[in-house]
């Protein structure tokens, strides 16, 4: 295919927007349906077949509501925060290789870009919490910052471990190196680092924490902080935050699939790469939902302790082990 570059970019832009919107809308449906099944109830059934139109109905309801900016709140920052949480998620998807050819921008520093934009998420929640002029929201904002700082470190250390094994920051190349069956996936490259599954686990836990998902949903913690940073948001302001949560989960799971599970590489050699990539991503997404409806929330300081006392030393150890292994072989 030799499309002109501007047209190609426009198509990808539309594709990514569609992907994000579809995920944000339908992961809510999957979550509600999944939660229903975990709790021995059917979940949404009324709107459309098996409740499939529920996200549309929810969206319309949120759109039709008034956007309330609380008196005394910083109006500009308050309105900006939902945008700043949504936009980076879309940016991240620009470098994610969906299949061998399906990647919007095959950047050499793709991994760095994902993390650069991924970190903006924190700032947006901080802004949202701060600008709301609500005590619960401010507590939540303070929590988000310390939580995300704490979890960015082990996450990056886990990613650096992968980077050292693969020797590249290009996500497409990382996937290409994992060609040829499951045992070639970074997850199972035990010759490079016998603790590779542990690294994956660290990455997974950090991803849950970074996306503010249960059991680490400190920002929202509805039984403690009412709705945390989102307390004062009404209508679509809340809706965008809500959708961004799912967009971020999708990005996190895409990254996990690319880094550890061989991206679009097929374990058995049938079906196109896109199928395998999406399968892996949605299995991960499902596990994220599963975790949420199974575990209670951790304590805030327990969460920080987990990061500083367990995850960071452990990820440092795997990093050192990898470099030692690289020296030996």
């Amino acid at each position: 295919m030799s499309l002109a570059e501007p047209i190609r970019l426009l198509l990808f832009l539309a594709g990514i927007l569609g992907f994000v919107a579809l995920n944000a809308a339908y992961l809510v449906w999957v979550e509600r349906k999944g939660a229903g099944r975990f709790q021995r109830r059917p979940g949404p059934t009324e709107v459309g077949y098996a409740g499939l139109l529920q996200p549309l109905a929810d969206g319309l309801k949120l759109l039709s509501k008034q956007l309330i900016v609380p008196p005394g709140a910083d109006g500009v920052l308050f309105r900006l925060a939902p945008l700043m949480v949504m936009a980076p998620a879309m940016m991240c998807l620009a470098v994610i290789p969906f299949s061998e050819t399906l990647v919007a921008r095959d950047l050499n520093v793709g991994l760095v870009m994902v993390f650069a934009f991924g970190s903006i998420n924190v700032l947006a929640l901080l802004l949202g919490g701060w600008a709301s002029r609500n005590k619960y929201a401010i507590i939540s904002a303070a929590r988000v910052v310390s939580q995300d700082v704490a979890y960015e470190i082990p996450m990056l250390l886990a990613v650096i471990t992968v980077m050292m094994v693969t020797g590249t920051l290009n996500l497409g190349e990382i996937v290409q190196q994992q060609e040829g069956g499951c045992w070639r996936w970074n997850l199972f490259r035990l010759e490079a680092n016998p603790l590779m599954p542990v690294t994956f686990l660290i990455f997974y836990i950090c991803m849950l924490a970074e996306t503010n998902r249960a059991p680490f949903d400190m920002a929202e913690a509805e039984s403690e902080l009412v709705a945390g940073a989102f307390t004062e948001y009404a209508g679509m302001g809340f809706g965008v935050f809500f959708m961004a949560e799912y967009a971020n989960i999708a990005v996190g799971c895409c990254l996990a699939a690319v880094l550890f599970l061989g991206g679009w590489q097929s374990p058995i050699g049938v079906f196109p790469g896109l199928f395998w990539f999406l399968l892996k991503v949605y299995l991960l997404v499902f596990s994220v939902i599963w975790v949420r409806w199974t575990f209670p929330r951790t304590q805030f300081y327990g969460l920080l302790n987990l990061s500083w006392k367990i995850l960071i030393p452990l990820s440092l150890f795997t990093l050192v082990l990898t470099s030692a292994a690289m020296k030996v072989w």
């Binding site: 939660a35 709790q39 303070a142 403690e224 575990f295 209670p296 304590q299 805030f300």
Partner: protein
Amino acid sequence: MSANAYIAADSGTGETFVLNLGPQHPATHGVLRVKLTMDGEYIRRAEPVCGYIHRMHEKMGENRTWAQFLPNTSRIDYLSAMAYTQAYVARVERAARLAVPPRAEYIRVITCELNRISSHLVWFGAFLLDLGGFTPLLYAFDDREKILDLLEAITGSRLTYCYYRFGGLCNDVDKDFIEGSRAFVAHMRPRLELYRKLVTDNIILRKRLEGIGPISAQMCRRYGATGPVIRGSGVAYDVRKVEPYSAYPEFDFDIPVFKEGDCMARYLVRMEEIRQSLRIVEQALDRLPEGPVMAEKVPRTLKIPPGDYCFAVEAARGRFAVRLVSDGTDTPYRVKLRTPSFSNLSLFEEASRDMMLPDALALMGSLDLVIPDIDR
């Protein structure tokens, strides 16, 4: 204390702000308001503000007849209505010298214990909800539904039962109820095992509860805290054992006591109490005597001899006592209700000092507060 050991209570900045927890907050499960003076996430002072759902039950008692006050008793603690009705009914019966037939006493015990189980199940779900686990709530409500169906069949209501009458019960239980209760006991035991595997043994839950919110037996005594709160602090105080009433002396059951005094101890006390209540229900069903369920010759308008009467029962949240003062007419001169939630809440201010907000909410959840029970 282990989990708390690494947070120094004095690590705050010294700058405080006031945070209003409630009257509308997801964790207070009702219209309780707690004024928190916070230093960051540390609570320096927690000041419960009651009265948002005050309904003047005690005053209402003074201007209606003895029988007319009966429905009020089930609306004080709506989750443990049976025990509250029993306290009132039993005291009036004793004062009016009405003999309750043994079958009625047995059925009172069965319904009280079923009610206790359903109350503990609601607490179990709501407590886990406080801790951020949503799923157990729906499992617990599923089991509770079975109890509500059983009780609905014999009493006609699902929550605010008015089943006991002076001298007995308003109607006898049928075969369906007895078989249904047996089936429920058989159903509930494996469910408790499931809850243990799914919830109690969960590492996150243990980290959140062990060593959090320690309450000493001394503190319980000072504030008059009773029920699972004092039993979680190592004191085997249960009205059913220390001041036996109704048919309780005839049954073999244990009082679960845990001496740690933390949230986990209170959690375990309640889970074990469900098991003990199942034992009582089973025994009562096995030995249910035949006969009438209503005393003979209950006067239409009851007049209680002048005097000052008091009676206590073990409700799901602790010791519930009624004090009735009669001047010999057909209405009480004074009704005083001693509710367990009020006393249990009163220790919150001291117990929550220098705790972090999520831990304090775990502590509040472990006290099992029912807000109408506080305000009455």
